[in-house]
Amino acid sequence: MGGVGEERRSLPPTSNDPVGLNAYLILAALVFSVGLAGVLTRRNAIGILLGIELMLNAVNINLAAFSRFGGDLTGVVFALFTIAITVAEMGVGLALVIAIFRARRTVEADRLDLLKG
């Protein structure tokens, strides 16, 4: 493990990096938490989907940040994938909401409790 540290130290300190990796990670963590709170508290199914968007967004920030600071493009590729999948999820999710709405006349997640034990 020490060898890796040695190697990292030998890299050039930074390249026009204004704030550093941790700042992005902190920002992403905060956005993620906000999204999670939204998912947990929203009554409306569409609102829950919006919360999920926020969380995925935070993930994308992380991926992009790791890509930038790791000097590897894989993170960007993954972020692209995530965005595409998220949009697909958004489409299907909203279609589901509409279907549920037709069937139950509500999109309040609290009242969608058919699974109640």
Partner: protein, 614 residues
């Protein structure tokens, strides 16, 4: 010649068994009813012929055939075979004779039965004949026990022949269980005897008794246990209660099994093993005492019974006890003689009673009356049986009973002698009571359709009556070998006559009022006790209800409240726990997401605390 005897004995044994196999396996034959009866009758008749030839023209010497059965270290552990001696030869004739006559009689008596029922009946009869013959031929305790149980099974099956009648089914079970109680002792005794001596066979055991190896330590207990088997089978006090109830079976069955043959198995066994019982004087004393006591007890019950078959049943108990008392007093020959003669005339009496019941359709003697006019034939043979049982010379009952009394007197057991003498008096009394009430006296109902028995029933009756008279005459001729004191002969006769006179006075002439007699002290006490069967049936019922059912209820309570309670408690815990946990399952997706969030939190905290470590 001895080998020839042995072969004959085995043929006698095999014939009824072949009949039973044929009836048991070939279903169409069994379901033909009368044909099945004829098969069985032919087999038993052939067996009778062979048995008579063996008795009259056999070598006369004892023969024993033994074949190894259970292998063991150093010779067979148990063997099977046959023993031909004076006891078994006479028993073979008696069993086959009574079996044959009863089966012929049954053809007439049960003519209204359905064909399959009749086939079943005769199959049981053939099995019974085989079992009883096997029992008397047994050369060892083990083989005897096997056949002993087989006759018990036949008894159960035949008592319960009318299995759709609840009282018959109950009586069958009662007989089975009570005799099983005695058999428990029997089998325990046999095993203990084997453990001590290493053999089941009679011959080596008798040799040991002769040379003094027996009695060993604890021999008295062993013989007592073996005697218990006889107590159950031969209806000795206190296990005699099953025999009167066994009268629920068809009357021919009562005649064959519960009078002439099976119930004498106990007496026969004690006679057979007499050399061993001699070595245990305490047990012998007990046999005599219990015998005398049961004889008197059963006689008093016979005096107050109104059911003609039950009178005969109590009489059977009483006479069996006579035999037991004789053996217990050291005169097994007299007991065995009484066994033979009793077998003849008690079968006659039962079959006669069956003919009466057949004719009038009731068992109650007080609903009969003046039957002698309607049924002269039946009345005559019944009279012969009554005279024989009451002990009027020259009929055989007189001689065998007198032989017993002589033997008991000479053995010096005065108490037993006195009780037996009193019993002899009572025997005459209750038999003539039946005779006077049922056959003479006043008619209680018109019997237009009462008629004498059909030939198939009448012939066995007349044959038995004739044989009874013949046996009596033969005993009268050869009576010289008994050297009874003259006063004893006179006493026997006097007792019989006194019984007759009292019965005549009370029930025929009306000189003495029977009810007044019964209400004078101390007879009133005996009367009321006897009418209640000395509370023995009630005692057993009470024991059953109190102890057995109480125990069952206790077990039931434990099962219901402790075992089930524990399980119910566990299941209630599970249910309650499930109800509690069920609250978690709200069915709302976001509540589950809280779980995910907490999981994430825990994961991060765990990673913080543990992955940080160097």
């Amino acid at each position: 010649m001895a080998a020839q005897d042995l072969r004959d004995a085995l043929v006698v044994l095999a014939l009824p068994f072949a009949a039973f196999l044929l009836l048991g396996v070939v279903r169409p034959l069994r379901r033909r009813g009368r044909l099945a009866g004829i098969v069985s009758i032919v087999a038993v008749a052939a067996a009778l012929v062979v048995a008579v030839r063996l008795e009259l023209f056999g070598a006369g010497s004892d023969a024993v055939g033994l074949w190894p059965w259970l292998p063991g270290d150093g010779g067979p552990m148990a063997s099977v075979g046959a023993v031909v001696d004076v006891l078994s030869r006479k028993m073979l004739v008696l069993v086959t004779l009574v079996s044959l006559l009863v089966q012929i009689y049954s053809l007439g008596y049960l003519h209204e039965e359905s064909a399959p029922g009749l086939g079943r009946y005769f199959a049981y009869h053939a099995l019974f004949a085989f079992s009883m013959l096997g029992l008397v031929l047994s050369p060892s305790f083990l083989q005897m026990f096997i056949f002993w149980e087989l006759v018990g099974l036949c008894s159960y099956l035949l008592i319960g022949y009318y299995y759709d009648r609840p009282s018959a089914a109950r009586a069958a079970v009662k007989a089975f269980w009570i005799t099983r109680l005695g058999d428990l002792g029997f089998v325990a005794g046999i095993v203990m005897l084997w453990a001590a001596t290493g053999t089941f066979d009679f011959a080596p055991l008798f040799a040991m008794a002769k040379e003094g190896t027996i009695p060993f330590e604890g021999f008295g207990l062993v013989m007592f246990l073996i005697y218990l088997g006889a107590v159950g089978k031969s209806a000795q006090f206190p296990l005699h209660v099953w025999l009167p109830d066994a009268m629920e079976g068809p009357t021919p069955v009562s005649a064959l099994i519960h009078a002439a043959t099976m119930v004498t198995a106990g007496v026969f066994m004690v006679t057979r093993a007499y050399p061993l019982f001699v070595a245990a004087p305490d047990v012998l004393w007990l046999i005599g005492t219990v015998g005398a006591f049961t004889a008197l007890l059963a006689a008093t019950m016979a005096c107050v019974e109104n059911d003609i078959k039950r009178v005969l049943a109590y009489s059977t108990v009483s006479q069996l006890s006579f035999m037991m008392a004789a053996i217990g007093s050291g005169v097994p020959r007299a007991g065995f003689l009484h066994l033979l003669t009793h077998g003849l005339f008690k079968a006659l009496l039962f079959l006669g009673a069956g003919a009466v019941i057949h004719a009038v359709g009731t068992n109650d003697i007080f609903r009969m009356g003046r039957l002698f006019r309607a049924l002269p034939g039946t009345g005559t043979v019944f009279l012969v049986g009554t005279l024989a049982l009451a002990g009027i010379p020259p009929l055989p009952g007189f001689f065998s009973k007198e032989a017993i009394l002589t033997g008991v007197w000479e053995s010096g057991r005065t108490g037993v002698f006195a009780v037996l003498a009193l019993t002899a008096f009572l025997t005459a009394f209750y038999m003539f009571r039946v005779m006077f009430v049922a056959f003479f006296g006043r008619a209680h109902a018109p019997y237009e359709h009462a008629h004498d028995a059909p030939p198939s029933m009448a012939v066995p009756l007349w044959v038995l009556a004739g044989l009874t008279v013949l046996a009596g005459l033969r005993l009268a001729m050869g009576g010289g070998e008994e050297h009874a004191p003259p006063w004893l002969l006179a006493l026997s006769l006097a007792l019989a006559v006194a019984g007759f006179v009292l019965a005549w006075a009370a029930y025929q002439a009306g000189v003495v009022s029977a009810s007044a007699l019964a209400s004078t002290f101390p007879l009133s006490l005996v009367d009321s006790l006897a009418r209640r069967r000395y509370f023995l049936d009630a005692l057993y019922a009470g024991l059953y209800r109190g102890v057995m059912l109480g125990f069952s209820r206790l077990i039931g309570w434990i099962d219901r409240y402790l075992v089930d309670g524990l399980l119910n408690f566990l299941s209630a815990c599970t249910l309650r726990g499930g109800d509690l946990l069920r609250g978690i399952q709200s069915g709302r997706a976001q509540d589950y997401l809280y779980g995910v969030a907490f999981g994430l939190l825990a994961l991060v905290v765990w990673a913080q605390l543990w992955l940080r470590r160097p």
